[in-house]
């Protein structure tokens, strides 16, 4: 199980901000993104249309070949609009 977190405009498009069981063939962040696009085309489209930052366990990750570990919290952030 991993926890997926969708922020800002992604939040309303996402099926859930919750723990999900990933299929066996989703092992990296890149594979997770592809899986999200297949599962949730509207969300996938929004994520493709803007700069999306990925935060794993509260740290910014830029290397999408990073392998996902059990209990990871993975957040997808659209551009910040500030306070």
């Amino acid at each position: 199980m991993v926890k997926l977190v969708f922020l800002g405009k992604f939040r309303g498009l996402a099926r859930d901000n919750a723990e999900v069981a990933l299929p066996a063939d989703v092992g990296t962040l890149a594979e997770l993104k592809d899986w999200i696009v297949r599962r949730d085309p509207a969300l996938g489209h929004a994520m493709a249309a803007t700069q999306t930052q990925v935060i794993v366990n509260q740290s910014v990750v830029r290397d999408f070949s990073r392998r996902i570990c059990e209990a990871d919290e993975i957040a997808f952030l659209p551009p910040m609009s500030g306070g």
Binding site: L7, I55, L77, P78, S81, G82
Partner: protein, 151 residues
């Protein structure tokens, strides 16, 4: 250094008074309050999404950076998240310092950072429904300029 996110309305002047109380060794208090504008019917309300835990951590990091850069460790940030009504305060940034120049710089630059680098997402509800706000080119330009000037 105090950083607080709140889902409830807050009174910025009350926060300022509490922040500066008993600090009579300081000569200067600078504050910025950002208010939710109420130009009916353009904006009926505002929603600010945040990433619990991460947003606090990042805002604290920005504040620490500014504190070090301007030698102004006494900073206060209070930021609303959730639903905000016109007329309510969205953000308060305040600085106490012995001299006013540091305090002005710290508050101004921290606000610039909050506008561009804080993990916050704003959705405005207007006459045509709700829409998420993207960072403004003006804010990004100001931030770039501030970086160029100060570093």
């Amino acid at each position: 250094m105090q950083v607080r996110l709140t889902e409830l309305p807050f009174d910025p002047q009350h926060e300022e008074a509490a922040f500066s109380a008993g600090r009579s060794e300081m000569g200067a208090l600078v504050s910025f309050v950002g208010l939710c504008r109420g130009e009916s019917p353009a904006v009926r309300g505002l929603h600010i999404d945040h990433y619990a835990g991460f947003t606090e951590k990042e805002v604290t990091r920005l504040a620490q950076d500014v504190a070090a850069r301007f030698d102004c460790p006494d900073l206060l940030v209070v930021h609303r998240v959730g639903d905000i009504l016109p007329g309510e305060a969205i953000v308060l940034v305040a600085a106490l310092s012995r001299h006013r120049a540091n305090a002005f710089d710290a508050v101004r630059v921290l606000m610039d950072y909050l506008k561009t680098d804080a993990p916050l997402w704003k959705r405005e509800t207007g006459p045509d429904g709700a829409r998420w706000i993207e960072p403004r080119a003006e804010d990004l330009a100001r931030r770039a300029e501030a970086e160029g000037k100060r570093l």
